[in-house]
Structures are given as structure tokens and as C-alpha cells.
């Protein structure tokens, strides 16, 4: 079984079983592939260089849209304009955090610096946001319902398996964030 993250002298440490690491790695890879910008060979190289993306559109996949939300409520045009300027770098920020977390999964004991812990918390959060969309978690009631699913022997279909995975990621992120809050406190 995984051990909860702890804040200590070495930094924030955690331990995951090989199967748990494998699971997290594949979840992280899934989210990375969702965030990977499309390869647009015809794109203006100068625009690409400064992070501009004039061909960007509001994501059609709900999970991707949750990762890259509109910045102005009820104003698609203003949000799109903002996407052209910022979405590429936002995707890169997220992919960077996900890749950093995936790299840490190669080691048996996970030892995180404050920056590494931040990357992990962002990565776990994005993984949970995607799982939550797949599980159709729309409100607190849905979340409660999914939260009740704790017994792996109950996993009989994709839905219940996803719920268990979501709850595992939630538990892991909660333990990490508690350790990060303690670390913040001790560094002030």
C-alpha cells in the first residue's frame, strides 16, 4: 500500500507500490497526450516562437476544456483572444508539471523539494479533473457518490474502477497538500 506523504527533514517524502506507480504513470501520460498541442506544420514559426497560436479554438472535449477553461465568463470571443496569447504556454506549464511528477515515479521512495511538491500537486489535480469529467462529477452530490466507492473488490465495471482510481488520486493529493501546508508553515 502507498504511504501518505510526510513533511520531514529530507523534504516531502512518499512511497508508492510499483503497481500504484504504474497506474499514476499511465494516468499522467493520458493527461499529457490530451494537453499536447496539435502539430500545425503550416504555423507561422515566429508566432509559435513567442507562444502565439492564432489557430487555437475552444476545446471540444469537456475534460480538456476543464484543464484550459475560458477566462471570461459568457464571452467566447474575449476568451478565444486570450487563448491565442496564453493557451500554448499554459499547456506547456501543465505538461512540465506532469512530466516532472512522472520522472519522480521512477524512484522507489519519492523525495520532493517544495518546487517538486508543487509540480506533483498540480499533476495530481489535473489527473483528478480529467477523471472527474469522465465520471461525470458535476456537483458535490456526485462527488459524494463517487467517494463512497472505496472497496476494490467492488470494481466490476469501468465506472467503478475509475471511481476507485479517482479516490486513490484524491487521497494521495490530500496527503501531499497537508504535507505542503506543513512545509509552508515551517518555512515562514
Amino acid at each position: 500500500m502507498a504511504k501518505a506523504f510526510k513533511n520531514g527533514l529530507k523534504g516531502i517524502t512518499g512511497y508508492l507500490e510499483p503497481a500504484e506507480r504504474e497506474l499514476l504513470r499511465s494516468l499522467i501520460d493520458d493527461v499529457i497526450s490530451m494537453l499536447q498541442p496539435e502539430d500545425r506544420t503550416g504555423q507561422d514559426p515566429l508566432a509559435a516562437l513567442i507562444g502565439l497560436d492564432m489557430d487555437v479554438a475552444e476545446p471540444s472535449d469537456r475534460a480538456v476544456k476543464r484543464l484550459l477553461p475560458n477566462v471570461v465568463k459568457d464571452d467566447g470571443a474575449a476568451s478565444l483572444e486570450f487563448r491565442q496569447l496564453t493557451e500554448r504556454s499554459l499547456r506547456e506549464t501543465k505538461i512540465g508539471a506532469l512530466r516532472a511528477a512522472a520522472l519522480d515515479l521512477d524512484k522507489e521512495e519519492i523525495v520532493l523539494t517544495p518546487e517538486g511538491a508543487k509540480h506533483w500537486s498540480m499533476a495530481l489535480n489535473d489527473v483528478r479533473l480529467v477523471l472527474a469529467e469522465r465520471l461525470d462529477i458535476r456537483d458535490e452530490e456526485d462527488a459524494e457518490h463517487v467517494h463512497l466507492m472505496q472497496d476494490w473488490s467492488q470494481a466490476e465495471d469501468v465506472e467503478s474502477y475509475l471511481a476507485l482510481v479517482y479516490n486513490f488520486a484524491t487521497w494521495l493529493q490530500e496527503s501531499l497538500v497537508q504535507a505542503m501546508l506543513q512545509s509552508l508553515e515551517s518555512r515562514r
Binding site: R62, N70, V71, T86, S89, A97, N125, I137, E140, M180
Partner: protein, 127 residues
Amino acid sequence: MTLSVALGPDTQEGTRTGTAESTDSLTAPDIPWNLVIWNDPVNLMSYVSYVFQSYFGYSESKANKLMMEVHKKGRSIVTHGSKEQVERHAVAMHGFGLWATVEKASGGPGGNSGKSGGPGQGKGKRG
């Protein structure tokens, strides 16, 4: 939001993580804008408080107060400034996975919120 948050003393830790490019604004710079964080059923209460503390440098009590406002009222104005400033914060919040939007400050309490619901589709209760 979901789950509870651990309490601890105030902190002034400020790791600025904004990564967005400047988005040159055509709006007059003296018009204040609000950064709004919306409730959603996925983000952990502890995580939202951590983001408010570590990114904005807010004390723990201020971060928790804003977090609870998001949780209970569905949204909270967590900071304000020029359009460019709040847009930069919004990208940083999106980087953390928080649901952030920007809006012109209207002067009234709570800003020009008016409508319910977050910026996305769905059953609408999450906003």
C-alpha cells in the same frame, strides 16, 4: 470543493508562478478588474487554500476565508488590479487547475456577477 483543510499559522510564503506572457490590453489601465475563483466539486479545499497562500502570499486565515467563500457562495473575488495583472493571475490559477475568470469591477458588492453557473457546460451547479 471537497474534503477539509488543516489549520496552521499565517504564512507570507510567496512563490510567484505566473508564466503567461504579457497580454497587452486595449482597456484603459485605471479600470479595476477582478480575479474570480469559482467553486467546483473536484478541487480539494486544502489545495485551494494552499494555492491562495503560496501564490498570492496570503495568510492562512485570509486564504481559508476566501476558500470558504468560494465553497459556500460559489465564487469569490480573490484579488483585483489592472486587466493585465488579473489576466496573468488567471493563467497561473489555470496552471494550478483552479477555475478562474476575470471581470470588470462594477463597484457594487460582489462585482458584476449577476448570473449563476461557471464558465463551462454541465448541470450548472458547479459554478
